[in-house]
Amino acid sequence: MEQTAGTNGQPQELSHEESRELFDRQARRYLEMSGDEFIQRWDAGEYGDPDDRSRNLAGVMNLAMLLPYVR
């Protein structure tokens, strides 16, 4: 991914599509699944408390914090 600054030095807003791509990359990075698969599992109630480390990997909470932006 390109890592350049915004042209005006300000933070740039990710588009919905770019955010979906980021979410997908993080799902693959932490949980070895696609972002869509994570959402399906989340919606099915598979994870329960996302930060419960006795049942979930660390990546579940990371993705839970991004969920509002990819719906």
């Binding site: 933070p11 980021l22 930060d51 419960d52 990371n62 932006y69």
Partner: protein
Amino acid sequence: MAGENPHEAFDNFRQPLQRALSCVNADAHLWALVGSNGYSPGQEHTLVPNRGEPVKLSSERNLSLMSSFVYRVVEAESERGPWKVQTTAYRHALEDGNALEIIAYHWHPSQGSAYNFPHLHIGTGIGASLSDVHKYHVPTGRIAFEDVLRFAIRDLDVQPVRDDWEEAFDETRGRFETWRTWSGSGPQSS
């Protein structure tokens, strides 16, 4: 952080974070996430460094930083206004080269978790056999971004990329302490 308008409040929130981050990675930049210009009142915003990708740190352990700042821009009274940024959640994780968490500082009172107090995770990337320690939520007070970066430099041998990193951290952390409205366990923990 306060400002005369929402955008100024956002800028005053972002710039110290950017300065602190520049002490450990000269090329990382902060970006606002989707559906958000970063400063509109009435909604939650998430700011992540390096466009949400790991921020590479200079260290023999091949460490990376993953951070999220979740906040709202709200109206405020007195010297904290008329607009200010109110942090609503954060996550600062130091990971090894295999994306395994070493240390993570969390506060996420409204993200669907019962662990709504500021806490610390000791991750599986720590490399030690510590039984179930990776499952624990060790309570902490509110953690400043600079504290995480300073810990990484002092104890995890991350190499700063600026000679004035201590001065920069002192300055930006001082602003954080001046403007924060809570510390300790947090306003929404039980």
